[in-house]
């Protein structure tokens, strides 16, 4: 292989390396982690954009976040949950995580998140085949993402 062909193959390899993982990612979570807005994210994940609010799902988070790049958000429920979701309504990709709970796992999860702007934050729990939601407003005083 001469030098030119070698360099060409290198640059192609380099491109593939940066493009391929994103394509793989898109293949498996594009729908759930849609960038087409909150309503689309709800429909893609739950099949509906209206999930009833339940007082049995709790979100604990600071009402005002001074560091929008690191906001602790805790979700818990006393329902017998087999799946939990966290969504930030105004983030570019609303879905933060989807958690599938297996036997022994308690319906509790705490994570630190980034927020682009002040937004309602929703937790959705699946229990016995039905959906339950909690929502809190988090105000951010700086911008992340």
């Amino acid at each position: 292989m001469d030098r030119r062909a070698f360099l060409r193959s290198m640059s192609l390899g380099g491109m593939a390396a940066t493009v391929l993982p994103l394509n793989l990612l898109a293949a498996w979570q594009k729908k759930n982690f849609t960038e087409a807005g909150f309503r689309e994210a709800m429909i893609n994940n739950f099949g509906t954009d209206t999930v009833p609010v339940s007082e049995r799902v709790t979100i604990t988070a600071p009402p005002v976040a001074t560091n929008s790049a690191m906001i602790p958000v805790e979700v818990m429920t006393d329902l017998d949950a087999d799946r939990m979701y966290l969504l930030v309504e105004k983030n570019l990709t609303p879905l933060v995580y989807r958690l599938d709970l297996k036997p022994g796992m308690m319906p509790y999860f705490n994570i630190r998140i980034k927020m682009r702007e002040s937004s309602p934050v929703h937790a959705v729990v699946r229990s016995g085949g039905s959906w339950h939601r909690a929502v809190v407003d988090i105000e951010v005083t700086s911008q992340a993402c």
Binding site: T18, P21, L22, L24, L25, Q29, N32, F33, A69, M70, I71, P72, E74, V88, N91, L92, T93, L95, V96, Y97, R98, L99, D100, L101, K102, P103, G104, M105, M106, Y108, F109, N110, I111, R112, I113, K114, M115, C145
Partner: protein, 102 residues
């Protein structure tokens, strides 16, 4: 990036609380550098946990998780049980950590 995942799990009354910190840039792919170029996406996309070899949870994560992801969760356990956590990012790097429940 190569530094180890930190993990700890403490049992109290039959329920253990685990804390996991993953040293990782967790870049969303939406931010620009000082020259205005997009910083490529590089973030954790999947996590799973197992207790004594039995699956505890499976998780998909998006790009809104903070840098150096922090995960805290609870599960039924006894002292001496082994908790193992595996993670994967969008560049197909994988990370794992194991701890004995205290």
């Amino acid at each position: 990036m190569n530094s180890a995942v930190r993990i700890v799990a403490v049992e109290n009354g039959g329920v253990a609380t685990a804390k996991v910190i993953v040293p990782h840039p967790n870049e969303s792919g939406k931010r620009k550098d000082e020259q205005g170029n997009l910083i490529p996406a590089h973030f954790i996309t999947e996590a799973e946990g197992a207790l004594n070899g039995s699956e505890l949870f499976v998780m998909q994560l998006g790009l809104s998780v903070s840098k150096n992801p922090f995960l805290q969760f609870r599960f039924k356990a006894a002292k001496g049980d082994t908790l193992k956590v595996r993670l994967k990012d969008n560049r197909q790097n994988s990370f794992e950590a194991e701890t004995v429940v205290k």
